[in-house]
């Protein structure tokens, strides 16, 4: 099972995405976002990116999702939608699940899957080595590169986040 752990985690990832895109109440969307965040962290860690995985847990789940959860809890309604409460939501969820199950069976059974890319069975997901970059770990080099060569990206994304806050305040301010 450990050979195919990335495949299993990816399937759980997609299923939790189906879970929140079938639009239950935001509280339940946040719940599956936690699951998908944790599973995504697992996928990244299997590729050797322990730092990025921990950042997902700390910043994404522990920062952004906590704020999201608190604001949603303040704005919640008396009878929030669950996946089984509304026929439409349940129908969409089951449809997404069905498509994922069919895709997984297709990948497991056949030798080559060519949806947009060509995967040769489940073997393509198994990790044999984490890249032959020698002594250094790739993901730490990536973070280092972000702050040296990628200074412009940091400036642009920092400005985008700042303007995002300005925009949110402006939109919710009203008259």
């Amino acid at each position: 099972m450990m050979t195919y752990i990335v495949f299993i985690l990816s399937v759980i990832f997609v299923v939790s995405f189906v879970g929140f895109s079938s639009k239950p109440s935001p509280i339940y969307g946040g719940l599956v976002l936690i699951v998908s965040g944790g599973v995504g962290c697992g996928i990244i860690m299997n590729f050797g990116g322990s730092f990025l995985g921990l950042m997902v847990f700390l910043i994404y789940l522990g920062g952004m999702l906590v704020v999201f959860g608190y604001t949603t809890a303040m704005a919640t309604e008396q009878y929030p939608e669950v996946w089984v409460s509304n026929t439409t939501v349940m129908g969409v969820f089951l449809l997404g699940l069905l498509m994922e199950v069919m895709l997984v069976l297709y990948v497991l059974k056949s030798e080559e899957v060519g949806v947009v890319f060509k995967f040769s069975g489940v073997g393509d997901w198994a990790i044999y080595d984490t890249g032959d970059s020698g002594v250094f770990s790739e993901e730490i080099m990536g973070v280092a590169a972000l702050y040296s060569y990628g200074a412009w990206v940091v400036i642009v994304t920092g400005w985008s986040l700042f303007v995002g806050v300005l925009v949110i305040l402006e939109v919710t301010r009203g008259d």
């Binding site: 947009v116 890319f117 990206v153 642009v156 400005w159 985008s160 303007v163 300005l166 925009v167 939109v171």
Partner: protein, 346 residues
């Protein structure tokens, strides 16, 4: 809105488009689009009534979907070519997805449904920014990937846009919806020639922006958003009726006004490439556009539109000072003799 915040947000809209036009890395282009989208939402929502909020929400949803499709095309391109540099797209699937994403951002058919509704729900100045500045960034990306766009899809979208832009505008009396349908039709003309000679796309974009700026500023000057309201300009500023006449006929593509230049060049370029039926169809469908422009000029400048006597006086606080209106009017009507200079756009 607080002037400082407004300036910051407006500068961010400009910065977003500049980042899209200047970058050579696909990820930065996507970041530029997102920054542009995020910052224009409060500009669309300048007045806080349910109409503007609904229009901003519709704009946000369609543009966010288009950005998602763009990101997917970028990643497929990365998987198949192994590099992030913007040049022609290496995979047909990625090219089709990217063309659809950029068509959604521009408002080409079959993704045109948001343009009239969003333009109608927002104020005239916001509509001006929406229909002119926001078209620059997607068009620049289309220009850069033009060698690899699937010609069938591009020409189908272009011809259908010209048809929808002309046909859909026929039943409109609201000026913002008329400008929205005119924008759809002009985008169709621009993308039709994209695969043959992208310089003409840029020429058409330039002249379209000048003419649309002029039209919107004339509407802002007379504070009119309906045909009926526009038909009272003879009472307020009789000169603007003539200017509206000239600019609208230029938008319709009549010689000897400058709106004729892009249409003439595009038809010439298409016929040089041995497609005869396509430019004929496009020219015929541009007549639909001309019809509703002429209806506007008829009710505004050529007749005194029937209205009750107490509606003839228009109420305003003070004369609006419109920047750059005279040069824009001159440029949007008298540029035709400068056609040989379009070689500088290369």
């Amino acid at each position: 809105m607080n002037p400082l915040i407004f300036t910051t947000i407006l500068m961010t809209v400009l910065l977003g488009t500049m980042i899209v036009m200047m970058s050579s890395h696909w990820l930065m282009i996507w970041i530029g689009f997102e920054m542009n989208l995020l910052a224009i939402i409060p500009i669309l929502m300048k007045k806080y009534n349910p109409r503007t909020m609904e229009a901003s929400t519709k704009y946000f949803l369609t543009q966010a979907t288009a950005s998602m499709l763009l990101m997917m095309a970028i990643i497929i391109n990365l998987m198949h070519s192994g590099q992030w540099t913007i040049m022609k797209v290496f995979n047909p699937t990625a090219s089709i997805i990217m063309t659809s994403a950029l068509a959604m951002k521009l408002g080409l058919t079959p993704f045109h449904f948001w343009v009239p509704e969003v333009t109608q729900g927002i104020s005239l100045t916001s509509g001006l920014i929406l229909l002119t500045w926001q078209k620059l960034a997607p068009m620049s990306i289309l220009y850069q990937i033009s060698p690899s766009i699937n010609l069938n899809i591009l020409l189908t979208m272009a011809v259908l846009s010209i048809l929808v832009g002309g046909w859909g505008g026929l039943n409109q009396t609201q000026l913002r919806k008329i400008m929205a349908y005119s924008s759809i039709a002009h985008m169709g003309w621009m993308t039709a020639v994209l695969a043959y000679n992208p310089t003409l796309t840029m020429l058409n974009m330039l002249i379209y922006i000048m003419m649309t700026l002029t039209m919107f500023m004339l509407f802002i000057h007379s504070s009119s958003t309906t045909t009926l309201s526009l038909s009272h300009t003879w009472n307020k500023t009789p000169l603007t009726t003539t200017l509206i006449l000239i600019t609208l006929l230029s938008m319709g593509g009549l010689p000897p006004l400058s709106g004729f230049m892009p249409k003439w060049m595009i038809i010439q370029e298409l016929t040089k490439n041995s497609s005869i039926i396509l430019p004929t169809l496009m020219a015929i469908m541009a007549l639909l556009n001309l019809y509703f422009y002429m209806r506007l000029t008829y009710s505004t400048s050529l007749t005194m539109f029937p209205s009750t006597n107490n509606m003839k006086m228009k109420w305003q606080f003070e004369t609006k000072r419109i920047t750059l209106l005279p040069p824009l009017i001159v440029m949007s009507s008298l540029l035709l003799p400068l056609t040989p200079m379009l070689s500088i756009l290369d």
